[in-house]
Subunit: 313 residues, 4 copies
Amino acid sequence: MPGTPPSRFVYLGPEGTFTEAALRTLPAAERGVRTPARSVPEALEAVRAGDADAALVPLENSVGGAVPVTLDELVTGSPLVITREVVIPVEFVLAARQLIPLASIRTVAAHPQASAQCRNWLLAHLPDAVVVDVLSNAAAAISAAAGEHDAALCAPIGVPRNNLTVLADKVADHADAVTRFALLSRPGPVGEPTGDDVTSLAVSIRHDQVGALLAVLTELAVRGINLSRIESRPTGEQLGTYVFFLDCTGHVAETRMGEALRGLRRICADVRFLGSYPRHRLHREDPPPSVPGLTDADFADSAAWLARLRSGN
Amino acid sequence: MPGTPPSRFVYLGPEGTFTEAALRTLPAAERGVRTPARSVPEALEAVRAGDADAALVPLENSVGGAVPVTLDELVTGSPLVITREVVIPVEFVLAARQLIPLASIRTVAAHPQASAQCRNWLLAHLPDAVVVDVLSNAAAAISAAAGEHDAALCAPIGVPRNNLTVLADKVADHADAVTRFALLSRPGPVGEPTGDDVTSLAVSIRHDQVGALLAVLTELAVRGINLSRIESRPTGEQLGTYVFFLDCTGHVAETRMGEALRGLRRICADVRFLGSYPRHRLHREDPPPSVPGLTDADFADSAAWLARLRSGN
Amino acid sequence: MPGTPPSRFVYLGPEGTFTEAALRTLPAAERGVRTPARSVPEALEAVRAGDADAALVPLENSVGGAVPVTLDELVTGSPLVITREVVIPVEFVLAARQLIPLASIRTVAAHPQASAQCRNWLLAHLPDAVVVDVLSNAAAAISAAAGEHDAALCAPIGVPRNNLTVLADKVADHADAVTRFALLSRPGPVGEPTGDDVTSLAVSIRHDQVGALLAVLTELAVRGINLSRIESRPTGEQLGTYVFFLDCTGHVAETRMGEALRGLRRICADVRFLGSYPRHRLHREDPPPSVPGLTDADFADSAAWLARLRSGN
Amino acid sequence: MPGTPPSRFVYLGPEGTFTEAALRTLPAAERGVRTPARSVPEALEAVRAGDADAALVPLENSVGGAVPVTLDELVTGSPLVITREVVIPVEFVLAARQLIPLASIRTVAAHPQASAQCRNWLLAHLPDAVVVDVLSNAAAAISAAAGEHDAALCAPIGVPRNNLTVLADKVADHADAVTRFALLSRPGPVGEPTGDDVTSLAVSIRHDQVGALLAVLTELAVRGINLSRIESRPTGEQLGTYVFFLDCTGHVAETRMGEALRGLRRICADVRFLGSYPRHRLHREDPPPSVPGLTDADFADSAAWLARLRSGN
């Protein structure tokens, strides 16, 4: 991140959710000021207005998919860029005010996405309990703490904060589920490539989906750029008009990525650059190997060759 | 729809939502039995179990995007197919128990997607009111009728049902917003092509997003198939593994669509056929023109030519 | 070959050329009647008129390239198809009426393509001799036998026939040079696939070379068809209008080749089928491996799947 | 052409052929020294050795196709580049020593390509004459002048030079047939773009024809480069290994051509640049229109945009 590192952080609240847990994995945030926001738009507005240096908001979940409001906010209003990504495992617990037998539970408070991610566990262990929808994981914990419901599905961080007791942990159906968060700032000089980076883009294409999307993918493929993610979102204008969110392997400072971006810029109705940043890997993995013919050195060689042709030497 | 037309319908409830309004545009549903379900999974389960003939559930909204739970349900469990689509304009009203001045409103009950779609209107007309999230448009109307909140954002259908009074209509920011619903049944003989049809697919691709997605699009492009929609959803396994939902122009009974489907079947990890059905157009439009070289007659001609080659005549 | 095997053969003469040598590698021709023709058009006309059952003519040489007159004849007039290919090593010898020292040779008769293929050898061994162009390899041998020139570059078959003596053998610069011949017949039932076949086509494309040629190659690539040869020939109409000669790996009786041919038929201005026949390999090689997803079994599987979709079962 | 214009010209002889006629359309050649060479290799060797400044040789004929020896010479030896192309109509005349009736002609001397281009005319007007192959158009005229044959098919330039009389003119079957010649020089600074230029390349590709050729065409298509010509030539190594000769629309000094060349350089086994030069049009035609998104201005715009992204401004 450019110049002075960020010290004033805002995040999607309330306190006690996965987002706060993700933010606290960043040393600068652990040292700095952390303010919860009531919504993703509110968090981003704080950064846009200069009231915060960076905002951490959820981007996607490996079970629930993209977080639409985050995507929509990224393509409207003044530009923001992703400077870091944070991936954390999603873990749900069943918690209550005190240790009670599962058989005695009649109501469970849960955010609809949480109960969806624990559906099989609930069917197997609490077949007779009624699941009551609430508006956040934190709200579920609070309602169990207040005695409004017998138990709650919530994040581990919500347990101590509400003086709850864990009745069962790791209750999510997908043991490897993760959520990916983005740290967003106002645009500034882009960080150095690390060799294992992501470049995020929002690309608007014109009519004729097959042809236009083929053209976009071809611009990437010709430069050896791979995609780790592609999402489509309606533009709000009419069904069938989309903006595509692409996570590309590589960094804007690399020649081949630069050439691919220039190609997209020329053929697309609009391209919004959403940042180049290090890929966060939960498990140590080798970065993608360099592709023969597509390294910066190969590009430099071909540029020197072209210069020779043009000068006739 | 095959054999006897459906007479037992289930839909995403509660009563008084856009889904009920959409269902009642179908004459068979207007005559038949209509049962609300508490969730999309519950609605589809009723059809899978044979307790209902067809289920109407939301697929996507031109502002809010895809409805994730519907997509996820379509690729899990026993197969269901779309036999009809229904597109209806999304209209929100601000309603209250009685006619009151806007300036007197302190709280507005609204489903988060409803308040998102009316954000600009709320900022302009109710800048000081607190918007309280509730779990459905119907719940918003009920809470206003019960006096829990001063007013509600709800669908027009919720007004008479709860004895409410409209304070303002057409309060959505996008005047042309629509929601698209799917009528789902157990698989059976596919209806006849109408010349303006949609074929829906769920396609799972293997690694290497750019290459694999290029291959999928090429299979379609080579047969002149266009896309009116493409959505990606995570498979729940890990970030970066996707199933793509494709709405293709054309009908499974057409030769070129059949050849494209066979091509996808051969190259993809999995292809689930989600139905061929007439496109529902809100405004009269010409169906897409037939493409020279890609009509059923062209395919028949090329097949006859090939047969001659093979026989040597 | 269909019905009764051919017994009346015509070939590009005169006698004593590589073409006669190639023809005699076919047992049926060794047993049958072999008539030399003065030109490729004359040879093909004999087949078209029914005066011969099959004609052997040169198609291409690994050094000299395609034989234009053969290609041009194949796309004009009534259709003929290739039923066999014959590949033979090209070997040139330097021959004379009697054994003489190389240093005494002042003139060498040679067909221009023969002297081109032996250029380095001639420079090294006969730097001072004058090479005199003649109109065929056989004419070279005849002129040396007649004493018109001191020596001749000719095919080994021309040596005994003209009572010549070999002064040097294997004088071609490329030791592995081969010539490929085609046995042409009137269309009839195509032979059975052998698992290592070639299908030859002549494809006329419309304007916009890049786009049209990309479309042709894509029709092949989508069905996993590879090319072992591509040649372009002008159509005689204007510069920039071409017919492409393609040698594809596979057999017209295979499903994927059939589908590719149908695709070309639909998108190209014209497609002429020039035969499916076993590849002639000089050295034992494994046939190309079958590609997952593209075998006849895979096509049959996808066809059965499509039939189930269409019937709703 | 760079520096001092060429004044010493060599061309494919003998005198009195189309090549000499083509060379004399160039004012510098009309003023300069013009030396016939006995073969294309000899002509090019004179330039490579510095004995001549430029060589004019035939590249292709709209009826007969490419001139193989020219193509082969261009990819071997030290590099030469095309600095001009000359396209001239091909016109054949039937000529004899004196005016004689066609019915009295028993033998006609002709180069095989000449008789091929006049085949229909010969069949219609001289059905009983024997056509005798000779080694050049000039040799045909000379043999008629010497009385060896009753008449000759030759170029108009051969008539006065041999004191012949024209018996019939415009005897070629294709009235619009043209031959295209290339003026070749040692590499030097490339001329300025004119807006209607050709860039010639020789591209060697690795195995897997379909995939490799698709990749080459895609590199061009992505930058909006069209092809006016594509020829394949064997490399002399084995059947199935080719070098492709491409004539691309555009100039090496243009950004998009530069980017395409760099892409080819990266993916191909070898790329030889054969020059950028003005297209010679026989008839006034509009140059190809500029393509939106692919002008130099578009490339400059996208480069400026990329620079802004990278600097964060």
